[in-house]
């Protein structure tokens, strides 16, 4: 299968960031924000859903962040960032106008070129919803190519759910099936409680006719995949998005190795049959 968007091989110096600035910043949760970046000149190439970019904050440093925006949107680049370190926290708190260096897009994308009418199942844990969002937006834009579109989104608590307005809009759509679940309910929560594996075990599923995209903590993806495999889904229909330390983003620095994979090059999106044996060995 081929990618949806052709990408030229020849690039400008992939080490040099292009200059963007924060056009808008939307608070998602107490520790997470979605940045809308605008270019000041040359833009990065179009991205595939699931790919990541390297974001540089002047004088602070650079980190890999999955692109969370609409792949069809021109001139804007959206990324959803949880503040966990110096650079991510600087980005999360960056006021409008802050300059941000961008390299990318890098890595593999979700394979969305399914047989016409195939069902699409997206399973997100926490911030894992961010890299899945471009796939969902792509599928909704090309809605007729797909059968059912099912999104199972989990978070630790209701306060940690991302894209809540969009989730509410999705819930109102007749052509999307949405299941939101939280590990722990708080006051006022009337929805599902439990890990994403719980609804996965119960939802209507046509395993032979479904592609599953999983993104979240590794244990969540392992257990979700197990549920799907147990329900008869072929392993090659499952894709996962994996994370390791990335410094260069272009397969030159070695940091993002996971066994035979260089995740910046062979990932982050990896077919489950490739990923599965690599996720069972501790500290691989």
């Amino acid at each position: 299968m081929t990618s949806q968007i052709a990408q030229p091989r020849v690039l400008a110096d992939p080490w040099v960031p292009l200059e963007y600035h924060v056009g808008a910043s939307h608070r998602e949760t107490t520790d997470t924000a979605t940045l809308v970046l605008l270019s000041r000149g040359e833009q990065i190439r179009p991205f595939l859903p699931g790919q990541f970019a390297m974001l540089y904050v002047f004088g602070v440093g650079e980190i890999p962040i999955s692109i969370s925006g609409d792949p069809a949107a021109e001139d804007v680049l959206e990324l959803t960032i949880r503040g966990v370190g110096a650079v991510s926290e600087a980005l999360r708190c960056a006021p409008v106008g802050t300059p941000v260096g961008v390299r990318g897009p890098f890595g593999t994308g979700w394979r969305l070129d399914l047989p016409a009418g195939a069902d699409l199942l997206l399973v997100a844990g926490g911030i894992g919803l961010a890299p899945l969002r471009p796939a969902l937006l792509h599928a909704l834009r090309h809605r007729r190519r797909y059968g059912r579109i099912v999104l199972v989104a989990g978070a630790k608590t209701p306060a940690e759910l991302l894209f809540t307005k969009e989730l509410a809009a999705l819930a109102a759509r007749a052509d999307v099936e949405l299941v939101v679940t939280v590990d722990r309910a708080t006051d006022g929560w009337t929805g599902n409680v439990g890990l994403v594996t719980k609804p996965l075990a119960g939802i209507d599923l046509f395993p032979e006719w479904t592609a599953a995209l999983l993104c979240g903590p590794e244990p969540m993806m392992r257990f979700s995949a197990k549920v799907l495999l147990d329900r008869g889904m072929p392993a090659q229909r499952i894709q996962v998005s994996l994370e390791r330390n990335m410094k260069c983003g272009i397969g030159l620095c070695g940091h993002c190795q996971l066994g035979p994979l260089l995740l910046c090059r062979d990932g982050p999106v990896v077919p489950y049959p490739v990923a599965a044996p690599l996720l069972v060995t501790r500290e691989l």
């Binding site: 200059e19 600035h21 540089y56 440093g61 650079e62 370190g85 260096g101 030159l252 035979p260």
Partner: protein
């Protein structure tokens, strides 16, 4: 084939310098044979041999005055092709944004004098990693493309050498031809990948170097040197010396399907046992001629208006190497040694289509506790029940 004398070697260094090359070759410093810029062939390690073993490296005086009869030292050519520290770019604030300026200096033109088979193979490994992917390292590419290589066939391997079992020596081997159907414009003759190759010998005819050109510019340089045609039996004698070297290796890598063995032994107790000896000091990765890992460092000056990004060598033995938010992936020494060894000999095949090991033995000699990767692989092969091939 022609023969160069001692004075011919002197002239070789001069001719290369006249042609604008910075000549890099072996020389003795700090009780080791290091690689440094030479201005005269007299700086070569004439009369120095090397005794190596696990965790051991000692120079000794050779009676024959030979310059290249010593096994690999602590350094390799990667420090010139892929420097330990390099500035990638600088950035300056301007108004509300910043402007990035890529480092764009003219690369030095190096001539590498005395590249053994193992080390030429290591350069080819670096080529595949840094220069053949989707995003080639443009700095490496520019340094690499101008290099003049004087290879040396090895006739005196050391106790830690195992190039024969890795297929990289002791002879400097020509680059394999590109696969059929490769893209190219016009009929380009295949080049062996070195410009000159020497075989040193000291015998009743004196101290001399059987020499062959491997490229057009190699032939041009050779034409400027005082040479004589090879005498009767000289070519055969050199071939015999190299063939003898092939049987004198101190070690060998087990002939097994190493990617399969290492994938099957990820959970072996052996890794913890090795870790009880390993100091995770990263020496093996620093001396390895193919270990290419780097990290980046972002720095600013005191004003905060000028920032730079530097790249420097990194090692999979560092805790920070595998850091992602929340902690390091590989905290135990066992997992870090496993990463190094399985990458070098196993997953390198998956990533870059060949082994990352060339059999130079540096990691054995420069390991402070003398861990021998050939012995460790032997144990893992046995554990995996792999039939020797």
């Amino acid at each position: 084939m022609v023969v160069l004398g001692r004075e011919g070697l002197d002239r070789l260094v001069e001719v290369l310098m006249e042609r604008g090359y910075r000549v890099i070759g072996p020389t003795v410093r700090d009780e080791a044979i290091v690689l440094d810029e030479l201005t005269s062939a007299s700086q070569l390690p004439f009369g120095w041999g090397v005794e190596v073993g696990p965790g051991q490296y000692r120079l000794w005086r050779r009676a024959d005055g030979a310059a290249f009869k010593n096994s690999a030292g602590p350094q390799s050519w990667k420090q010139f092709l892929h420097p330990a520290r390099e500035k990638l770019w600088s950035a300056d604030r301007d108004g509300s944004g910043f402007t990035v300026t890529a480092t764009d200096s003219e690369p030095p033109r190096y001539a590498f004098l005395g590249v053994r088979g193992c080390d030429l193979a290591a350069i080819r490994v670096l080529d595949r990693v840094l220069d053949r992917g989707e995003h080639p390292d443009s700095r490496y590419h520019r340094r690499r493309e101008g290099i003049f290589i004087v290879g040396v066939n090895c006739t005196d391997p050391g106790e830690t050498c195992f190039c024969v079992s890795m297929g990289t020596g002791p002879a400097v081997s020509p680059q394999p031809p590109p696969p059929c159907g490769g893209q190219g414009v016009g009929p380009t003759p295949h080049q062996p990948g070195y410009d000159l190759v020497l075989t040193e010998s000291v015998d009743q005819r004196g101290h001399h170097f059987l020499t062959e050109a491997g490229s057009e510019r190699g032939a041009e340089v050779l034409a400027e040197l005082p040479t004589r045609p090879a005498g009767p039996g000289e070519v055969e004698a050199a071939e015999t010396a190299v063939a003898r070297a092939a049987t004198a290796m101190g070690r060998r890598m087990p002939a097994a399907d190493l990617p399969a063995v290492l994938a099957a032994t990820r959970e072996s107790e052996r890794w913890s046992e090795i870790a009880s000896r390993c100091l995770t000091c990263a020496n093996c990765t620093m001396v390895c001629p193919t270990c290419f890992c780097t990290t980046t460092e972002d720095v600013t000056d005191l004003t905060g208006d000028h920032a730079e990004r530097w790249q420097h060598w990194a090692s999979c033995f560092e805790l920070d190497y595998s850091y992602i938010h929340g902690g390091e992936v590989r905290t135990s020494g066992a997992s870090r040694y496993r990463q190094w060894l399985t990458h070098k000999l196993g997953t390198w095949h998956d990533q870059f289509g060949g082994s990352g090991c060339v059999g130079c033995g540096r990691c054995i000699a420069w390991c402070p506790v003398g861990i021998d990767l050939t012995a460790e692989v032997d144990a893992l092969v046995t554990e995996a029940g792999e039939e020797p091939r």
